[in-house]
Amino acid sequence: MSAVRVKDLWWRYHTSREWILKGVDFEVERGEFVGIVGPSGAGKTTLCLLVAGVLSKSVKGECKGRVELFGKDALRTGVRQLSEEVAIVLQDADTQFVTMRVLEEVAFPLENLGLSREEILERVSEALEFVGMKGYEWKHPHELSGGQKQRVAIAAALAKRPRLLILDEATSDLDPLGKREVLSVVSRLRKEYEVTVMIVDHNTDDLVKFVDRVIVLEGGRVAAFGEPRAIFSRIEQLRTIGIRIPQPTEVAFKLGAANGGLPLTVEEAAKALAPLKERLCLLNGDAYESPSGCERLVSFTDVTYVYEDGTVALDGLSLNIRKGEFLAVIGPNGSGKTTMAKLMVSLIKPTSGRVEVMGADTRAVSPTMLFSKVGYVFQNPDYQLVCDTVYDEVAFPLRQLGLDEEEVRERVQWALASVGLTGLEETPPFFLSKGERQRLALAIVLAVKPQLLIVDEPTTGQDERNSRRIAELLAQLNKAGVTIVVITHDLRLVSEYAERVVVLNNGRLVTEGSTRKVFTEHLETLASIGLEPPPVTRLMKELVGRPALTVREVVLCERA
């Protein structure tokens, strides 16, 4: 008997005429680990919630077809009954925390199931041990990093001993180490407890290492379903859909090394490319020189920042950011990246030390005094949207600047055109898709024409097409003279676009330098804090002894 059987499933919300799912068919075997990929709006979350049996009972909508969960009709069986079989971990870890301590969070579903106190304690202890969170029992959600919160959410799911675990973009907010930790915990879970796992993730580089089969969703339909190697061999089709291709697969495809199927991992690619080793050479793309002579825009001098609860977010940070740079700030969750950004826009003041932005000590200036020079785009665009229409939203800061309506109109049109939102001026911002809202947040800041643009996690939770669109836009702005500081966990984005990298850990500067230098000479340092350069970097290091930053470099060298 299969774990999940979905037959001709259709779903639409009662507010919409459009079907979100249009005849989805697939079957997942017991103990299988299945990945679900697809662009934003493909219906991934809707599918997960329908399989878990909650959507059709909690939200008004029309549903056709059949979902069977271990033989039960998931669309008609009560959620209470299904909840003993299935557990789901969602993207927003905070929302899932329904209590205020780790111990109580993991125990909560067990208490609801009426287990004895002894059994609850035993299962909680086992689940926390399994996810590596033993010792954190009395911690509050505020005291945990994003990765730790998700591991607690998994422990809470695991403690119920479900037969099916669904992770809906549960790892998208995590740093690379957190992501790998969660995936390996899930992988172990599946091996040791024979749990069936379904996971939605945009990051195919990691996904392919763990999953047995992949479902590709596009426009509410299953575009492909099969083993990862078969799926990712359809490179052109996946590119058209907008799915990220694992880098080792991409390199092998471009070099024509597909004997017996395309490789999925660095190890497989190294084997597949070994016959071509002699012909491989890399284009030395390191033309970047630190612009030491250029004007200094921001300087941190021995900056420490301590939060109210005593957490030291930054600890003696000294750093300069120069005009015209494209700088990436990377580091694990909780390393101080966002604190650094908040100090640059004067939202918070240093506990000690000095932050200067364009010559002004941030202690002496307010955020409203800096906003015309320094733009800050939040990770979650929804915090930035306060007006009734897209036009008013972009015009808002310009009106605060006191510009006349003619100039406001010109700048709004320019900013919307820059981010590809022309024609949506009269649309309410919250009617836009997540990718569009992210670009709108960028347009709001762009319209002010800041000299320095700080972007916090611009590609988190975005599909490949949106991620690339945002990254290209940032690169264009940088070429036009805007200094860019991007805070990100997406090291592929860093290696393709950033000229310089700053690595933080525990509030301290671990290393900094040109992207090539950091990803070439500091691999051990990066590894020590759980950061791994993109697969192509490691692959080329293994094959030719020198790392490449992008797939393009490898292909160019081979052709040359």
Partner: protein, 275 residues
């Protein structure tokens, strides 16, 4: 987190604060009593004595009194509203009339006493509730209400409201930050303009809250909530001597205040026999 600190709903407090370790039922009963007594007492002098005793008791229990400073601006705002409404809009007869307005309202000695009473009542309730909330954890709400006979689902819903109010405050801070970064002058200038700007924060806050609620309802359902059968509980709270003494004191104080109100004019307005 600093050593010796305990995280409660909204902040970190010193674990030496005796109420933190109290039985959840004691905290819930204290919260009710400290909000009921100021409603029974009418006169300003007994209200002032009650507030003073409350602060003294809090100091003895090692309550973090310095945290009360954070609520001073709210208290001042309320005080401002009370003063304005009594001065400009009341007609309370008294022994002496200090000011008369063309629209028929006037200020007498009794007006000032009423004003003082209302302000002391609000202050007592605010200080009392804050001191209890500083010690309150989510388990306290659920276990406290449950031990007082409230069904688990209702107790947990109340607890969730508090849990999400903490998240709501975080969201508000972020939206406010975003507004500042868009040049909105929220801290300076015309109060009407500032209020108008602040009202805009309602849009994202509402949208984020609705999305959260949807996710939360899915998460709760899949955590088998509400329980259909008999629910069990992880924690077992034992009654200590302190808890028993605290409950006895709360009961005695409430009874004393009720009896005093019924048999003597001391607690009734204006609170002295020569009135």
């Amino acid at each position: 987190m600093e050593k010796g600190k305990v995280r409660t709903f909204f902040t970190y407090v010193d674990e030496r604060y005796a109420l933190v370790r109290a039985h959840p039922a004691v905290k819930i009963v204290s919260l009710v009593v400290l909000n009921v007594i100021p409603w029974i007492i009418e006169a300003p002098v007994p209200l002032a004595s009650f507030l003073t005793s409350l602060l003294l008791a809090a100091a003895l229990l090692k309550a973090p009194l310095s945290k009360l400073r954070n609520y001073l601006p709210y208290l001042l705002l309320v005080a401002q509203a009370v003063v304005l409404s009594y001065v400009l809009g009341s007609r309370i007869p008294g022994n002496a009339v200090y000011i008369e307005f063309p629209w028929g309202c006037y200020v007498t000695d009794r007006t000032l006493l009423y004003m003082a009473s209302v302000m002391l009542r609000i202050s007592s309730m605010l200080v009392g509730s804050t001191l209890i909330f500083l010690s309150l954890r989510d388990t306290d709400v659920v276990y406290g209400l449950k031990s007082l006979g409230v069904p688990f689902a209702a107790a947990f819903a109340f607890n969730l409201a508090l849990r999400f109010s903490a998240l709501f405050l975080d969201d508000y801070a972020r939206v406010r930050d975003a507004m500042l970064l868009k040049g909105a002058k929220l801290d300076a200038g015309n109060p009407l303009e500032r209020a108008k700007l602040l009202s805009r924060t309602a849009v994202p806050l509402m949208v984020i809250a609705v999305r959260r609620m949807q996710d939360l309802s899915f998460a709760l359902e899949l955590k088998s909530f509400p329980p259909s059968g008999k629910r069990t509980y992880l924690h077992q709270f034992r009654w200590s001597r302190f808890d028993v003494a605290a409950l006895a004191l709360l009961a005695a104080t409430t009874a004393g205040v009720v009896v005093a109100k019924m048999v003597s004019p001391l607690l009734s307005f204006p609170g002295w026999p020569f009135a």
